[in-house]
């Protein structure tokens, strides 16, 4: 069967498809959208309030971990000091750059595979 439609049913569906007054409906949608926004705001506020004491407790440890991570990311992969263009290579000569480039390559590969 092709996509052809039965003429009688087409006519009846068109007749049943009446224009409905949108005023009350719009008001209901606005009210629900506002309620949803208020609920989300409340969730964010409660989450922040709950996270504040937790952050205060683990703040020092978190700072240490972030510091160590920063050192690791900026650590050079190879010794390029003796090379002529060393300053130009330095942005790429780090663990962080290698990780970022690998992720970009994986993303490009993934896109090519699913395209």
């Amino acid at each position: 069967m092709s996509d052809e439609r039965d003429p009688l049913l087409e006519t009846l569906f068109a007749e049943a498809d009446r224009e409905l007054d949108g005023g009350m409906f719009l008001a209901a949608v606005q009210a629900r959208a506002d309620a949803l926004r208020r609920r989300r705001l409340a969730v964010v506020l409660v989450s922040c309030l709950a996270a504040a004491p937790a952050l205060w407790l683990v703040g020092a440890s978190l700072q240490q971990v972030l510091g160590a991570l920063g050192e690791l990311v900026s650590h050079p992969i190879a010794d390029t000091e003796s090379l002529l263009g060393a300053p130009m290579l330095s942005p790429l000569n780090s663990v962080g750059a290698a990780v970022a480039l690998s992720l970009l390559a994986l993303r490009a590969l993934f896109k090519r595979l699913i395209a």
Binding site: L8, D17, L20, F25
Partner: protein, 186 residues
């Protein structure tokens, strides 16, 4: 309320709504509410439920419209959102519970006239999957391939649902065919 964007092209309004313009979103609701509510009425046969589901559709639109990259594809995207809301409703536990109450609610619906009531009543006689395919074909005017892609029902099944559903609806709505037949005969 006044629709500030009533004269503006829909693609422009969609883009504005995607950037968080509340008035633009409201304009889209006013433009498309009849279509979405009628779709839900055909599918659910319950006006209150249909309006509730249509509101859910527009809430999802408001949440996700910023991610719509091609504003000119809004009509097709809206159809998909509406169908997903309906399918989620069918999957939810209270859908079966509510379906029992629908019969009485709809037969007693006030203000309903003519073809709308008869079409809805005839649609009620169809199994849910068949009804969905028929409504998407005749109300949403989607192609069989689009229906298959949107509902995840295999294309062959969509075609057979529409064939069976059309035959059943033709039989149930046969009285509407009689005046035409008489006119043609005279």
């Amino acid at each position: 309320m006044t629709d500030r964007y009533s004269q503006t092209a829909e693609a422009v309004v969609v883009r504005l709504a995607g950037r968080g313009d509340r008035r633009a979103f409201e304009s889209l609701v006013l433009r498309r509410q009849s279509w979405v509510r009628n779709l839900m009425r055909r599918l659910s046969r319950d006006r209150v439920l249909a309006d509730d589901l249509a509101q859910q559709v527009f809430l999802q639109v408001w949440r996700k419209i910023g991610r719509l990259q091609h504003p000119d594809r809004f009509p097709g995207w809206l159809k998909r959102v509406a169908v997903n809301v309906w399918l989620q409703h069918l999957r939810s536990a209270d859908a079966l519970h509510r379906s029992d109450a629908m019969e009485d609610a709809e037969t007693a619906a006030p203000g309903a006239v003519g073809a709308a009531v008869d079409v809805d009543r005839a649609l009620a006689a169809l199994p849910p999957d068949v009804r969905l395919c028929i409504v998407l074909s005749y109300h949403a005017r989607m192609s069989h391939a689009d229906i298959a892609a949107t509902t995840a029902i295999p294309l062959g099944t969509v075609k057979s649902h529409i064939r069976r559903g059309t035959e059943r609806l033709r039989a149930l709505l046969a009285p509407y065919d009689e005046p035409t037949t008489r006119e043609a005969a005279s």
